[in-house]
Symmetry: C2
Amino acid sequence: MNIYDIAKLADVSIATVSRVVNNSPKVSARTKEKVLAIMKENEYTPNAFARGLGLGTMKTVGIICPDISDIYMAKAVSYLESNLHDHGYDCILGCSGFKQKEKESYVKLLLSKKIDTLILVGSTYAGSGKDEADTDYIREAAEQASVFMINAKVAGDNIYCTYADDFQATYEVTKAYLRRGKEKILFMYDSESFSARQKLAGYEAALQDAGYPVLGNLKFKTKNDIEYTKNMLLEYNKVLDFDSVLATDDGIAAGAVKYAKIKGLSIPEELSITGYNNSILALCSDPELTSVDSKLGVMCRKTVERMIELLENEAQIEKNVCVPCEIVRRCTTDY
Amino acid sequence: MNIYDIAKLADVSIATVSRVVNNSPKVSARTKEKVLAIMKENEYTPNAFARGLGLGTMKTVGIICPDISDIYMAKAVSYLESNLHDHGYDCILGCSGFKQKEKESYVKLLLSKKIDTLILVGSTYAGSGKDEADTDYIREAAEQASVFMINAKVAGDNIYCTYADDFQATYEVTKAYLRRGKEKILFMYDSESFSARQKLAGYEAALQDAGYPVLGNLKFKTKNDIEYTKNMLLEYNKVLDFDSVLATDDGIAAGAVKYAKIKGLSIPEELSITGYNNSILALCSDPELTSVDSKLGVMCRKTVERMIELLENEAQIEKNVCVPCEIVRRCTTDY
C-alpha cells in the first residue's frame, strides 16, 4: 500500500494525499477526512515522499541525468535549476551514468530523500525500446512521487514527458538533403535511446517517402566524441559511399568536419554535415555547423511549469508535450 | 551563539558538536557531557546544520557554482558528485550567477538546508580582490558549516581551499612565447576573479623577469564567448599590435582562432594562441588549441578526500592545496 494506492482509493491526486499528510490548509475538511479514513483503514504509513509532517511541501526536486559533464545535460540542469529556484524549489542532483542498474538505484536513492517530485533528464531513461521492463523502475517510482521526463516518453500513471519532435526534424533535414541532390546520407548516432530512435525513424521515413532505399550500411554507430568519430570515418570511408552526414549530436558532426578536412573534401559541396543540439561545438567548429536546435530551454520551462501546476494547484496537466525543433542553418550545408 | 562558538568554548571541532547534537556513538561520553553542558550554559539551540537530531550526519553536501551550463563548472560538479556519491553523500545544487547579492543569498539558502558542508565551485566566490568585505559572507557561512572552495582562496576558520597553480602556468606559457620570439603577447581575460588575477600575475612576472615591459593595452578584457571575442579582435586589431594570445579560457582562445582565419593569419607562425582549461573546445577548434589543463579532476578529488577526512574522522586537514597545471601542446603554438 503506497501513497498512490491511497490516492486511487480516495479518488484524489497524490498531491492531495501529500497535502493531507502534511496538514496543508489547501485541502477541504471533507476531503481530508475521507483521505485520513482510507489511510487508517489500510494501515498506511507515509513514506519518505510524504513524511515532511506539518512542514508542508519539501520544496525539493530530485534531478537525475546520466552525465552532467555532457554539454546538453548541463544546459538542461541549468535551465531546470533556474526555473525551479524562481518558484522556490531546491534541487538534489544525481548523475547516474547509463547503466540500467545504476539508473534504477539512483532513482531509488533520490526517492528516499524528501523530494516533491523527480525529473529525469535524458533519453536513456526511456530504455532501449526493445523491452518494456526497462522502464518498470520509472513506473514504480511514479507510485511514490510524480516523475517528469525530458526527451523521453514513457507511459504510466503519474509520469509526465516533454520531448523534442526529433522525427520531424530529421525528416526535414533528410528531405532538404535530397532536394539538393544529396542522396547518400550517412546517419551517425551514438545510442539507441528514445531520442535516437525518433531521429532514425524521421530519416528513414523521409527516404522512403521520396522513394529511396534505406541502406543498412549508411546507419553508422559511433561515439559522441570528435576524435573517435574522425578516426572511425577515416577507417571506414573506403567501404562507405556518402555525400552528406546527419549526426545525432554536434560532437559527432564536429568529428565529421575534422574528417572532411583531413580528406580534403570541400564542405558543404563534397560533404554536407548537419549536427544536433545547436551547442557551443556548432559555433566552435570550422566551418560552423548547421545544427538542429531541440529547444531544450522550452522543454525545461514546460516541464517546470506543469510541475508547479501539479504540485501547487493540483491542476490537470498535459501528460505528453512535444516541442518542435528548429534547424539552424550555418556553413556546413547548402540546403 | 552558533555551533562554531560552542565548538570553540568546548575546544572541539564543529563536527564533534554536530555529532553530539546528532547523538552519534562516535563521541566519548566525557566529550559529550562537556559539549552538552556548554550548549545548555549558553542556551544554544541547534540550527539547520545540526538539527538532524538522532539521524546522524545528513550525508548531504551543498554545491554552489555560478553557472552549471559552463563547460568547466559542469565538469567540476560532475567530478564532485561522483566522488561524493562514492562516499555515500548526496548533493544539493545551486547556481548562483555572478552577482554578489545572489551569491550571498544562495549560500544562506543552502545553509538553511540540512547540509554537512558547502562546496563553492569557481573563482568568483573569492571576490574581486579589492575589498575583503566581498568574502565576509563566506566566513559567516563557515561558522555554520565547513566551506570548501575550488579554484579560489579565502582566509578564515573552517574554510578549505583547493586551487590550480595558475601563476606558474601562465608564467611558463609567457616564458615559452618569449623564447620563440613572440614578444607581443596579448593577455585575454573575461573577469577579475581570483584565478584570473593569478593568471595575470604569472604573465606579468614572466615579462618582467625577462626584462620586457608590461603593456596596459596588451591586457584585453573580453567575454568567454567565441563570437564576441572574434568580433572584439576584428574591431580592435587596427590599434593593437600582437603576435600571440594567452587566453584565460578555451572559449576566448577559440574566438582568437576564428579571428586569425578571417584575417588570413597563419597559426601558429603569424599568431600563436594558448587557451585554458583543456576543454572540448580545444579539440573542436581547428587547428586544435594548445591549452593549460588546470587539473580540475585532481582538485575535486582532493577536495572530497579532505572533506571526508574532516567529516568522518575529524582529521586535521590541509587548509590550502595548490595543484600544478599541465600545458597540453597542440597545433596553435610552436613552443
